[in-house]
Amino acid sequence: MRLGLLVDLQRCIGCDTCTLACKQENGTPKDFFFARVLNMETGEFPQVKRSYLPVLCNHCADAPCIRACPNKAIFKRPDGIVLIDQERCNGTGACVSACPYGNIYLKEEEQWYFPDDSPHEHYAKSRLENGKAKKCTYCAHRLDQGLEPACVVSCPADARIFGDFDNPNSKVSQHLLMQKEQTQREPFLLLEELGTDPSTRYLKPLSQMHSGGRGNEE
């Protein structure tokens, strides 16, 4: 079993709903964003392109953070999800530098936005401990209840597809198959050359495949 997330960049509109849904679901401290969207510009006027890249923990098959943690606080579940045990974490900070994607957060003194928690924040914060390393869990607590990750459910463009990459009948495998047949798109990985084998994969925007992008038109 290999749970993972497929992001269809053709569908992503860069609205940051995933970012907010994640913050609400996980009650993360100020400046902590487990799911974020990079807003990028490529080229120079008049040949400029705007693109969005949603990034989150990649739950790598060969996760450097697991190897780097001297306290054995990071582990991989049988379904492929990489988690940081908040009780075992000592806040050493080795995983922060080990993660090639910059998706592990650690701050000695964490702050929240408001002095008083809302009831939901109070509930969500109980999963996190002050001064410990934190990252996206693919909403493991939701998956254990048979629900999908908050960012997936909230995406208004259905750009995020979650499921088991090893199961050919899963939603994500079916989507990949359909895209391969209809649009000839194959998923790509971020920083593939590092060999970490991420579980978060991406499908290129269609416009770039067929016309080389509108910005390339003479």
């Binding site: 990079l38 990028m40 991989k76 530098s97 080990a98 910059g102 971020l190």
Partner: protein, 313 residues
């Protein structure tokens, strides 16, 4: 379970025997059962010619250095040091040296983060770490002051340092071995075999070291030589396997902690334009690398174009 039990029994046995031997020697007892005269030891120099030891150490050392180079090349790529360096350099050498020293001394050698959370865990780790440092110190001192491997008595200072270090590590490793077997959380799904390999290898190395140490006191010269050879092979194996066993954390953790500290300082000193606070030290340059990689993937024809990060949370 059985291995952990044997390990603990052996450690306790060796410790008790050492204490009793020392007490017997100090008390002037000569009829102590299984007692070994702690006078001058066998001269291993006739077998372990210093020139041959030097040659072997040089060959093994070179191989270890090559393996370490390959190991660190991978981690330098993971941590994006090549992209990070232009930011780190802006801190100036004084600040870099200060942060490096803090990461090496306070965070790594004194294990400040472990000490804050669990004194017990810190103590057990300290037994192994400081014991290992004592053994390294003893070997270095012996190499300088006893190049020809001349026989020395039990009370020769480098020997005392080495034995104390060995004993300390042996006790710590026994507790660690026990925990590796008993604590289900120790299996993180990735490094468990490497952890066991390191504890087992170091344990055997120290054990054969002690065996050599005692056999050398005139019991059996051939046996002493065999034990010494086995000890040397295990020491070589320990270092040759360094990149593949948990032993690698003695170099990897300090390296990563230096980077984490430097990146924290970068943001604290406002050396990264547009970023006032950064809860994931180093995220800014790693995000830059992601943006460039993404551009290569989705705009392969525009690989040379500049990519600008307009905004990210």
């Amino acid at each position: 379970m059985i291995w952990a039990l044997i390990a603990t029994l052996l450690t306790v046995g060796i410790s008790l025997y050492l204490i009793l031997t020392l007490l017997a020697t100090l008390g002037g007892l000569t009829s102590f059962p299984f007692s070994i005269p702690l006078g001058t030891s066998i001269n291993l120099g006739q077998w372990a010619k210093p020139e041959l030891v030097d040659l072997g150490a040089s060959i093994i050392g070179t191989i270890v250095l090559i393996l370490l180079f390959l190991f660190f090349r991978r981690w330098i790529r993971y941590s994006a040091l090549s992209v990070n360096w232009k930011y780190i350099r802006s801190l100036g050498w004084r600040r870099i040296a200060k942060d490096t020293w803090t990461a090496l001394f306070q965070d790594s050698l004194l294990l400040s983060s472990v000490q804050k959370r669990s004194k017990k865990r810190w103590f057990v780790h300290g037994l192994v770490l400081y014991g290992f440092i004592f053994m390294l110190l003893a070997t270095t001192l012996a190499a300088f002051f006893n190049y020809s491997n001349a026989p020395h008595g039990f009370w020769w200072p480098p020997r005392i340092i080495g034995n104390l270090g060995g004993l300390s590590s042996l006790i710590g490793l026994s507790i660690m071995g026990w925990r590796l077997v008993r604590d289900p959380y120790e299996d993180n799904g990735k490094t468990y075999v490497a952890d066991i390999a390191f504890v087992f290898l170091l344990f055997l190395t120290i054990l054969t070291g002690f065996a050599t140490e005692f056999i050398m006191y005139g019991l059996n010269a051939t046996l002493a030589y065999g034990s010494f050879l086995l000890h040397m092979l295990l020491v070589s194996g320990l270092f040759l396997a360094l990149p593949y066993t948990r032993f690698n954390h003695v170099l990897l953790t300090p390296f990563l902690l230096i980077l984490t500290r430097l990146n924290q300082t970068l943001v604290e000193e406002n050396n990264v334009p547009g970023i006032l606070d950064e809860p994931a030290p180093g995220r800014h340059y790693k995000t830059e690398r992601l943006a460039v990689d993404c551009q290569k993937q989705i705009f392969p024809k525009n690989e040379e174009s500049t990519v600008t990060l307009r905004y990210y949370p």
